[in-house]
């Protein structure tokens, strides 16, 4: 091939894909679905999901949404359970680095697109940022109603009584609303939406968030969205109001008391550690603490 000399090292070892893997027609189709989703906050919009080079459940929905909105100037951060260094996060990050050639980061501040599974970063998001959620089960009514036709009708007619039946069951059985993740929310006072595997700790962060929030479900081929500054209310009862998790101990690494902590089993004797699930935030806090200590010492 005569043009071979002009191909970069990176492209030579991988087949030449379109920017961000998906072809332009697919991206257009996805963008149309995303625009519709943004226009009707919380409403699930179907799209023609493509096969991605990874299994369902690994974030195929999130990847397709990220690929559709990605531009050459974007900076990507990917987290899994809040962490930047888990397998899933690392592989998705390197995937986009390779097929889109855009800069990647672990810093919440620097990123323009944050693809996530399970967490919203501790550092507050700002205007202009887009957070992309990987969603396994987009339908909040599915637990109560197996029929897709029926759940669509229920969404259309705003019949959300059964969502409270689910919460009622929790209180009856556990004395409190025991759902700790995938806690249903009402978006913009109209659609009940599943925030997916997000811990309910993060639910209040979705409310009036300055960032655009996009949700992609690859297996079910649905996208939905929460535009910036939209009301997101967690469902609850008057006498059992919504509340988030609290921990008795601070993070063992950075000493933070206001973040979401993961429990880690440290040895065979059952020793448990509680550490921040957001590794970027934890590291940044630790660094600033050491700086301060270093400053006072010297």
């Amino acid at each position: 091939m005569p043009a071979e000399n002009s191909i970069s090292e990176n492209q030579r070892e991988t087949p030449v894909y379109n920017f961000a893997y998906l072809d332009e027609q697919t991206k257009r189709m996805l963008r149309r679905a995303i625009l519709k989703a943004v226009a009707v906050p919380g409403c699930q919009v179907p799209f023609g999901g493509r096969e991605m080079p990874m299994p369902y459940g690994w974030g195929t929905g999130g990847i397709q949404v990220s690929a559709a909105i990605m531009g050459k100037n974007d900076v990507l951060k990917v987290i899994d359970q809040g962490s930047d260094d888990t397998t899933n996060a690392v592989s998705i990050r390197s995937f986009f680095k390779r097929v889109a050639g855009i800069p990647v980061t672990t810093s919440t501040r620097e990123a323009t697109i944050i693809q996530t599974r399970h967490r919203i970063p501790e550092h507050p998001l700002r205007e202009g940022q887009i957070i992309v959620y990987q969603v396994p089960v987009p339908e909040p009514l599915r637990w109560m109603e197996p029929s897709e036709k029926e759940t669509r009708t229920m969404h259309a007619l705003e019949e959300y009584g059964v969502m409270h039946v689910k919460l009622y069951e929790d209180i009856a059985r556990h004395g409190e609303i025991a759902a700790s993740y995938d806690y249903p929310v009402m978006v913009g006072g109209r659609y009940v939406m599943s925030p997916s595997p997000l811990p309910k700790f993060d639910n209040p962060r979705m409310h009036q968030s300055p960032a655009l929030q996009l949700f992609g479900a690859g297996r079910e081929k649905r996208v939905y969205a929460v535009p910036p500054y939209t009301d997101v209310r967690s469902l609850d009862f008057e006498d059992h109001p919504f509340s988030v998790q609290r921990w008795d101990k601070p993070c063992e690494i950075c000493g933070s008391t206001d973040t979401y902590l993961d429990e880690i089993i440290a040895d065979d004797k059952g020793t448990r550690l509680y550490v921040c699930s957001d590794t970027d935030h934890c590291a940044a806090r630790l660094a600033s603490k050491e700086n301060r200590q270093g400053g006072s010492d010297g």
Binding site: G161, H164, V165, E238
Partner: protein, 290 residues
């Protein structure tokens, strides 16, 4: 009960005039009370392709009245119930219902949202198989509370209280409130289904063979319960049954259907004790005595 079947049909008793299903109610027999009737069914017909589901059925239902539709299997009873309750669209004819606001609405012309709202507030529907009417993976309390929550009740304590109170009314121990319906016996499931329907204080309840598939002694208890609740709450009921004993016990008025057509209608006791149509006579005389 068997004797009238043998002799009654040649000489219609005076003042009956109830053979025609379109006939006005027994109360005064002159004017149809269109201003206070609860449900007006006019010429409702349903064809399944070339087959007749039910044909040209008309009746009016008054507040507090229990109307039983009896007939053998395949006579169009359940089709009629589905048409009248708005769950199926008729080929022709119309069903009008007087809402609690006093307005008369055409059930099949209502927008879907309003029809579904009616079904979960002012109406109840008791299925023959409680599994169709209950959420089997939700506790008894949740089943009873669902309608309240669908109507916007967001206070757990109150919903719970209503659950306990309704379990008491249908004679289920209050400590079973957190049990799943699968752990209930058939009769208890049916009573739970009734409680679940009545918790929103409906005005009109449709019952499709509510005692079907139950043991005779359980049936008797359930019938007793339904009769008490209907009287206490002033419910109007359209009851479909093939069991004449059930009809006799619960119903004020009776419609006998055969091959999709109403062959006889009238006061329950009159129709049962003194059937005029030969098919009704056959039906009445075929009841096991003992």
């Amino acid at each position: 009960m068997a004797e009238p079947a043998a002799i009654g049909f040649s000489v219609p008793p005076a003042g009956r005039g109830m053979r025609d299903a379109k006939a006005p109610p027994p109360a005064d027999g002159s004017e149809p009370f269109l201003d206070c009737g609860l449900l007006h069914v006019e010429g409702v017909t349903k064809y399944y392709g070339g087959r007749v589901g039910c044909e040209d059925v008309s009746f009016d239902l008054w507040p507090g009245e229990v109307l039983a539709v009896v007939g053998e299997s395949g006579s169009g009873k359940s089709t009629l119930l589905n048409l009248v309750s708005g769950r199926m669209a008729p080929t022709s004819g119309r069903v009008r219902y007087r809402e609690s606001s006093g307005a008369l609405c055409d059930v099949h012309k209502l927008p879907e949202a309003s029809r579904r709202r009616l079904l979960r507030t002012e109406w109840g529907y008791v299925h023959q198989n409680p599994r169709d009417g209950l959420r089997m993976r939700v506790s008894a309390g949740g089943n009873i509370g669902e309608r309240l929550m669908a109507c916007g009740n967001r206070h757990y304590g109150n919903i719970r209280k209503a659950g306990v109170s309704w379990l008491g009314k249908v004679e289920i121990d209050a400590d079973r409130i957190d049990d799943m319906p699968v752990s209930y016996s058939g009769g208890m499931q049916q009573r739970l289904q009734i409680a679940r329907n009545l918790v929103s204080a409906p005005r009109l309840v449709f019952m499709d063979e509510p005692t079907g598939g139950l043991d005779v002694s359980v049936q008797a208890r359930l019938l007793d319960l339904i009769r008490t609740l209907v009287r206490e709450m002033g419910l109007s009921v359209v009851l479909v049954t093939h069991d004449l004993a059930v009809a006799r016990l619960l119903a004020h008025r009776l419609m006998v259907m055969r091959r999709g057509v109403v062959v006889e209608a009238g006061l329950a006791d009159q129709v049962l004790d003194d059937p005029r149509h030969e098919y009704t006579q056959l039906l009445v005389s075929s009841v096991l005595q003992g």
